[in-house]
């Protein structure tokens, strides 16, 4: 039982770490501000989501698990908002570098 839980944790956290890698690489490699924004918010929020998913089996109680999920939801809201704010600014700023 504990083995199954650990396997889920390892798989999900590894996948999350992979998306952090992808997000960072995208931030470094994509050619302009708007494309970099895609890399940041998408891969990054998924990275956090998978890390949270991986920690759920390790949580002591249902309350702790729900707390982790609410942190992910807050992170999603933050990521979605920031991407819109910066995208708006970049589009109207025109030649934002």
């Amino acid at each position: 039982m504990s083995l199954v839980r650990d396997m889920i944790s390892i798989a999900a956290v590894s996948a999350g770490a992979f998306f952090f890698l992808a997000g960072t690489v995208g931030l470094l490699r994509f050619p302009d501000t708007l494309t970099r924004l895609h890399a940041l918010t998408k891969a990054d929020n998924l990275g956090l989501g998978l890390v949270v998913l991986g920690l759920l089996p390790q949580a002591d109680s249902l309350r702790d698990a729900l707390k982790l999920v609410s942190i992910w939801l807050l992170g999603l809201l933050a990521g979605a908002t920031v991407s819109q704010l910066i995208a708006r600014a970049a589009r109207q700023g025109g030649s934002i570098r």
Binding site: L77, T81, Q84, L85, R88
Partner: protein
Amino acid sequence: MSIATAFEIMLAAVLLGLGIWTIVVRETFSATVGFVAYGLLVALIWVRLDAADVALTEAAIGGGLSGVLLLGAAARLRDAEPMAEAAPGKLLRATAAALSVLTTATLAGTVLLLPDPAPSLAPASVANAWATGLSNPVTNVLMAFRAMDTMLEKVVLVLAIVGVWSLAPDSAWGGRPGPRHRADPYGVLAFLARLLSPVGIVVGIYVFWTGANHPGGAFQGGAILASMWLLATMAGLADAPPVSSRPLRLILVAGSGLFLIVGLAGLLFGAAFLSYAPALAKPLILGIEVAMVLTIATTLGLLLSGAPERSAEPWAP
């Protein structure tokens, strides 16, 4: 070398590198962004050192308020940069460098010369926790064993707000602080403020309340509440009250005022200034903390808003 040690060395190296870069980089805005990231990493280190209370303070202040303050200041400075082009002289720079090296050397020397084990009052404060009925040792130190420091800290907050307000031009005295924020009511920012502010209020009150027994407390909770107020203000949903408002001024002095009254009562009826009767310790501390969280949230919010610069005319969103 275990994984944990490697991790710690890496964390320290990254932090040190970022710190040096923040000092060396020329552009104010870049340095500020670097400093915000630095704060995030410092919070990680505090958790690693088992100092969750400090980590929480760093997250609450560094994550929200100080980032807004510093980035705003950097934007203002950038507009003024062409005027302040004159670089500091060689002598000034050498003196600053020498002072920094001296401070670092003193700190390093002090840490290295500490006896082993280092002197600590931690066991004493944990052993006496029964006297207050609160189980978070940090809150015990802040509110009971070293209550004097905390009270004076609240006085400093009052002085800080007096300092900021004194920058107001005569014509605006008594008016509302800071610029009037207007945002698209259907914009993303307003949407975020509508959703996030109530959630932040629950989180802020939770962080304050849990401080009695777990990491947290009035300062962290107050900082979160102030951030939510600031968010609503920046989104154009709320506005700062005029500085002439009497309820506002009462709130600003509530924390230090109540602290002082309780302290004097201790002098009159109890053993010493700021001594609590054991039976009343917990309710008294709680009462002071409630007053403090209001004062801290209001003061931090107003400090961020700046000096009064508009008339006190009522404001319609």
